[in-house]
């Protein structure tokens, strides 16, 4: 057998003088993937492995034996359950609030009959505000509605009423929700404005030609088309506030026990030091965020049907 004979393609030996094969052996192995190796290696080391390690160690007890106790603790320990409850509540409220307000704004600047400059102004500011999160945002709201904040003083100056008297505090659930809304609704505006632009005039005309009213148009045409975008964005906003840490930490310190705050405290070794439990809490976040992303990706596929 000739040494250059490829192995495993054709077991029959080729003799000298044979005609070349009509169909040369197909090269099934491509080297093209080598170009993406660095990226995948990096993702493997710094995204995949940390996630897997969190998953595996969620089932590890303090003395390194296999256990389900950490997972059960999420549901059974009241402080952890409350942390999840609070995180979910904040995320739900700010996702619904942000989506509603953002939708109204997007509608106002796209189809509401406002001048074009207003629209570009709105979109520019949404771009900035949706990226303005973290510590500076928290301080901005302290300066707005904190004890010596501008809004607090204006209200006091106008009505003589100190909103912070009588035990009222902004460093609670609603205060944090108001802060989160600052980066939530602009994101909705950014995503909804192009989606509303995508509603074609012909659809409305077709609806009107068939005798449909404005209600019919929205109920049977526009909303069904927009529904995946609406759902997808709302779920995105949900995840956005569920995973937020810096804003909440700088705003409330550790007054509010959000899941991210508790995990952060675990890392800094402040409280209830049980690495397995920390892993389980982190795993819980990954599970919830995976659900969120699955719904988001599914909704994006539905959106794609209507986008040309």
């Amino acid at each position: 057998m000739a040494p250059e004979q490829p192995v495993g393609i054709d077991p029959r030996p080729r003799n000298k003088g044979d005609a070349p094969r009509a169909r040369p052996p197909r090269n099934t192995f491509s080297w093209a993937w080598v170009g993406v190796v660095p990226f995948f290696l990096f993702a493997f080391m710094f995204l995949f492995m940390p996630s897997v390690s969190i998953f595996v160690r969620s089932f590890e007890s303090v003395d390194h034996t296999f256990t389900f106790q950490n997972i059960l603790d999420i549901f059974q320990k009241s402080d952890i359950r409350n942390a999840y409850k609070l995180s979910l509540q904040v995320s739900l409220v700010t996702a619904l609030g942000g989506a509603s307000f953002g939708f109204l704004l997007a509608y106002a600047v796209t189809m509401g009959g406002l001048p074009k400059t207003v629209r570009s102004f709105m979109l520019t500011f949404s771009g900035v505000a949706s990226n303005f999160a973290g510590v500076p945002l928290a301080f901005a709201f302290v300066a707005t509605m904190g004890n010596a904040g501008l809004v607090t003083r204006i209200i006091e100056g106008l009505s003589g009423f100190d909103i912070h008297s009588g035990g009222f505090s902004i460093y609670n659930f609603w205060g944090l929700s108001i802060v989160y809304m600052y980066f939530q609704f602009p994101l909705m505006v950014l995503i909804m404005a192009p989606a509303l632009d995508g509603l074609r005039r012909e659809w409305r005309e077709a609806c009107e030609n068939l005798g449909g009213s404005s209600f019919h148009y929205w109920r049977y045409v526009a909303l069904p088309i927009l529904a995946p975008t609406l759902l997808g964005t709302a779920i995105l906003l949900f995840g956005n506030s569920f995973g937020a840490y810096a804003t909440a930490y700088a705003f409330t310190g550790s007054f509010l026990n959000l899941v991210t705050i508790v995990i952060g405290a675990q890392i800094q070794g402040d409280v209830l030091y049980n690495p397995g439990l920390g892993n389980a809490m982190a795993l819980g976040m990954i599970v919830i965020m995976s659900l969120v992303m699955s719904i988001y990706i599914w909704s994006q596929r539905r959106v794609a049907r209507w986008v040309r």
């Binding site: 990096f42 406002l114 771009g127 900035v128 810096a246 700088a250 675990q266």
Partner: protein, 261 residues
């Protein structure tokens, strides 16, 4: 006759109030350091602190390193996927969305657990921090580059360059990069804006970056934190405005979906 759009103006003005009241308040607050009058005293105090420059410098350095690594990883990958491996596109897209699934605080937790002790000890070097930042930049970088690649006919350009005898290095440097300039700059400035103010990774991995510095002086002083917040906002604002100015006229407004902060 067209009606005056009352409700549209109402919602628009409400939105503008939500945008501007906190910004105006912050600015006003930062001017009130000396009782009874508006001065820039808080800014003077902020600029006097040597740690302001140190932390800012650190963040600047890490932002640059992050951008370089992110570009080196993302650009060839996005290009290669577009050109040769379209089947991998969903996988790469999924990976670049992962920072959303694994929030920064969770990723830090994982990094510390995994690389916080031998055999691979990274948490005592800035490597773990920069790795986290690079991961954080993936969604922004990939989306910018990918939409840039889709806007030009990469395959034809590449084949034209090849038929003129260009090697891969030349193709990337002289053909692909110039065509991607706007997309790359968008990704770069977004990454820059995010890394400069980033708090979670830096604070939990205990690096003296700009984000933790702002948080720290917030606990100690009254008016300087707001002054620094105003500056931080200007960095974000400048970066985003620059991106929008660069991308003017480009097809399809991009919406950036990144990790939560």
């Amino acid at each position: 006759m067209k009606r005056f759009p009352v409700w549209s103006w109402f919602w628009f003005l409400l939105g503008m109030l939500y945008f501007f009241i906190p910004l105006v308040s912050t600015f006003e607050f930062s001017l009130r350091m000396i009782k009874g009058k508006y001065t820039f005293e808080a800014y003077r105090v902020a600029f006097e602190d040597p740690r302001f420059y140190q932390s800012f410098g650190y963040s600047l350095l890490w932002a640059v390193i992050t951008i370089v690594i992110s570009l080196l990883l993302v650009v060839p990958t996005a290009y290669w996927v577009q050109l040769k491996l379209p089947k991998l596109r969903p996988v790469v897209e999924f990976i670049t969305l992962m920072p959303f699934v694994v929030p920064a605080v969770v990723l830090t937790f994982g990094l510390i657990r995994l690389y916080g002790h031998p055999p691979i000890l990274l948490t005592n070097t800035p490597a773990a921090l920069v790795a986290g930042y690079v991961v954080l930049s993936f969604p922004y970088m990939y989306r910018s580059v990918d939409s840039g690649l889709r806007a030009v006919d990469i395959r034809t350009l590449t084949e034209a360059a090849q038929s003129l005898g260009a090697g891969w290095g030349t193709i990337l440097k002289d053909v692909i990069f110039p065509n991607l300039r706007v997309a790359l700059l968008s990704g770069i400035f977004l990454t820059f804006a995010i890394v400069m103010g980033e708090f979670t990774f830096a604070a939990l991995l205990a690096w003296p970056a700009f984000g933790p510095y702002i948080e720290e002086i917030g606990a100690m002083r009254a008016y300087t934190p707001q002054a620094v917040s105003v500056m931080s906002f200007l960095i974000t604002w400048g970066s985003i405005m620059l991106i929008q100015w660069l991308g003017r006229g480009a097809r399809g407004a991009q919406v950036q979906v990144g990790g939560a902060r």
